[in-house]
Symmetry: C2
Subunit: 508 residues, 2 copies
């Protein structure tokens, strides 16, 4: 493809993306394809002769687009949103057009310098301590692939530091702390590093938040066993329910364990710190006082196209001490002089893409005020989209909240109110079965996407807002649809229980 062919194909791609976004709301959220669909359309080997690009571009529309789950659909309420803005797309296009692996300053000065600068913008936008600024020369931030990478990097830095301080300690005795509500990134860090993970229990009455006393008990217990907890992965905004660990209590305990690294994973909720009204509930002051590292994903609720996981550390030396490898072929004048950041020593790999560009484009195009307004559209204002949904659940006869709504996430279940007072409530097992049936019905639909979870044995459904194109009517549509599916689920359940002679819902 020569330059003019690229111009033509590029214009067409832009036009087709416009068309995609004009038509997105009319598409099914969930692809209707079945496993193996694509191999019907794609040969088993690459073609021997090159093909005309128009055919390839058309095949993308014909075979790939119908197989996409449309995360940008206004009725996508599953998992967490994945950001996708036009500003981000253009930045990604410029970045790929000047492909460079940016592993050290010299390999592309602009990549490194822009990353250092916009990470400082983001740091200030979130109200993080100046200690985390790249300009501090001590702490600093870098863009990582995902929150899993960020947590893994924090764990590597923490383990490396611990091993340097306690060289006699065996790797087998090192322990990573998470809770039952920590994202899979906690257990995965343990799997990758081959280290034990101690999964701390959290309680429904604490809204699934890690309490200081639980941490203290675990530390005592592990001390007795000769175990060495070296990192706690605390969460601000868990995936299952948006739970926020009790960082002030954790700080009180952790201050007596200075060798316990505290990583705060706020992959989803962290961007909400841009709004001052969210800072107290997210324990920003405590994060600023004592977290060793902090991560949030601008690629979730933060308007920057996947991937842009921002990781800050209070002391960059802990990263470079753990990760610096400089073979002769990577030595440079500026690296040797120590006058520049060589970001390859701040992450797992060598090469890195030019991702700061999309953070720069987005933050400039929206401005800090526009960014905050975007967050506030979903939460926490009384008129925000999540509040509207939570109010609907609260008022519903058939649905109920499982935990109080957290920022832009509501966790609920089908939980029909008893029709008379003398009937016993449904057992947890029955309720869980009922909700499996309910979720089965919802997930069979193609016009809405919600995901499920289990909270201390309670089967429930998650409703996460924050996709860029979701507006009030889409929330209303979701409410109507859930109402209807709840009624149909109860009818079906009724029929089954009648058939089986079990206690029916209408009898309770």
């Amino acid at each position: 493809m020569d330059i003019e062919q690229f111009r033509k194909a590029g214009y067409q791609a832009i036009d087709r993306i416009c068309e995609y976004y004009y038509s997105l709301h009319n598409r099914p959220v969930i692809s209707k394809v079945e496993p193996g669909y694509l191999k019907e359309h794609i040969p088993l080997t690459a073609p021997e002769e090159g093909e005309d690009f128009q055919v390839i571009a058309d095949d993308f529309q014909k075979f790939i687009v119908p197989g996409l789950t449309h995360w940008q659909h206004p009725s996508f309420f599953g998992y967490f949103p994945t950001a996708c803005t036009f500003e981000g797309m253009i930045a990604d296009l410029y970045a790929t057009s000047a492909c460079n692996p940016g592993f050290n300053w010299s390999s592309s000065p602009a990549s490194t310098e822009l990353e250092a600068l916009v990470m400082d913008w983001a740091c200030q936008l979130l109200g993080l301590s100046p200690e985390f600024l790249n300009s501090s020369g001590v702490g600093g931030g870098a863009i990582q692939n995902t929150a899993s990478d960020s947590a893994l990097i924090a764990a590597v830095a923490a383990r490396s530091l611990y091993q340097r301080n306690y060289p006699e300690v065996s790797l087998q005795d090192l322990v990573i702390y998470t809770t039952t509500q920590t994202h899979s990134l906690g257990v995965k860090a343990g799997l990758v590093l081959g280290l034990s993970v101690h999964v701390l229990e959290v309680k429904a009455e604490d809204q699934f938040s890690l309490r200081g006393e639980t941490l203290q008990a675990a530390l005592h217990e592990d001390e007795k066993l000769g175990k060495r907890p070296f990192i706690l992965i605390a969460t601000v905004g868990t995936t299952s329910s948006g739970a926020i660990d009790n960082l002030p209590e954790i700080q009180q305990i952790a201050k007596n364990y200075p060798s316990l690294w505290v990583h705060v994973d706020a992959a989803w909720a962290g961007v909400a710190l841009s709004c001052p009204e969210n800072r107290e509930r997210c324990h920003l002051n405590t994060i600023n006082e004592f977290a060793d590292s902090f991560c949030t994903n601008f690629h979730k609720w933060g308007l920057v196209n996947f991937d842009a996981s921002t990781l800050w550390v209070r002391d960059r030396k802990h990263l470079t001490d753990a990760l610096d490898v400089t073979p002769p072929f990577l030595r440079t004048k500026h690296g040797d002089a120590g006058t520049v950041i060589d970001y390859r020593n701040w992450h797992l790999a060598l090469g890195r893409r030019f991702r700061s560009l999309k953070l720069w484009f987005v933050l400039r195009s929206f401005g800090a005020e526009g960014f905050r307004n975007y967050i506030r559209k979903a939460s926490p204002l009384s008129i925000s989209l999540n509040q509207v949904f939570a109010d609907f659940v609260t008022k519903s006869e058939t649905l109920s909240l499982v935990t109080p709504p957290s920022l832009a996430l509501t966790v609920f279940r089908l939980d029909p109110k008893p029709k008379s007072l003398d009937q016993p409530p449904l057992s947890l097992e029955s309720l869980n079965n009922l909700n499996r049936l309910f979720y089965g019905r919802i997930s069979a639909r193609n016009d809405i996407l919600l995901t499920q979870t289990v909270l201390n044995g309670v089967h429930c459904i998650r409703f996460a807002v924050g996709a860029a194109r979701t507006e009030a009517p889409h929330i209303q549509q979701a409410c109507d649809l859930l109402c209807k599916e709840a009624d149909l689920t109860l009818e079906a359940w009724e029929q089954t229980t009648l058939d089986e002679g079990k206690p029916s819902v209408s009898s309770i």
Copy 2:
């Protein structure tokens, strides 16, 4: 930015990328900026109000482009090339426009299915064994971020397997084998995992290739010490000199150590396997017979925009046994049924980008034949660009090869031929100093980029061809320029040595 504003900004981006490529050969390869240049142009905080996108797009041209090292410049001969094709750009644009984190089949069926299919295309293009095909249902391949990630994943899978087979073995006793010529990814895997790395020596007379006897000696030695080598990271095409480890000899030794995982890192050279004439020298048969995992980066010499590191394993279960975490919020009907690939369990993180699209676009647009022709342009034909350069060095009065050229890489140094037979040759130290001076001169230029390395104490310079826009005249230009710089270096050296009263070059 609304859809029509995006159309406008998108067209402009396409036009500016065209302009960039029309003018690329007239730009300096290496940016002229000094550390800290960008902070003069960028404020310390994000703007409060959103800015007009045209201003942002213009600032990209004004402040960022001048700070880029132009890896796509025809006179870029440093490191290894980083691929950047128009087909890859368009694929990246489509991928970012439908941003999804593709962590399991349901989260975006097309992403998973296309990846499984085109990895099979790539597998066959390179002549890898059908055992590595996704369609085998046993082995398979996935796209990873970088070769560092691929090697790390192989090491995690190998360690996990070893620990399951030998649960009594302490982590402290586990050892990763690399050679002195293995890319930094080997040592970095050790740093990340906190495991020992045994760096095996290789010899200049073996062209820096790992020999079977060296491996055998190390295995004996470690056995005596109670150490447990669990993975060997062998290389086909090292970064410093393109060395190819002696895989047939390694196989003979390793067959007696069935618990030693052999990962073949062919990050750069692997794509050359697409040409049958390269297969014997790269030991393809041996790879197919016994490698547990194999990695090559299509994003280097393989026409697919960074990043696209392809990793194949002979047994996918070793990956999923090591890396599978499935919390309730990630459970899906198809995942539970085991009828689909959930690629999140084949890599370190959870989310992954839709990278198979660029591999698909590139392989279709070029075709297998076009891909091979591209590789052959650089190597190994007698008229190929690297052969032309190597012939120039061979014939030069002042330069000499340090090792025989390997595929598209030539390693050479300034090594003036003695003017009379009775003069002693320059010492290694003097020659190294001379080459530092020589490289200092080359790297001070902005119109060419080469990188340096050290091979068993010998300071040398690497010349890597394969950037898409490099043609015969650029090689000629490089030869002329290196000739001139060599002469000027020798003149300067002469002057210094005369001043210092040391033996001069002209006297030898």
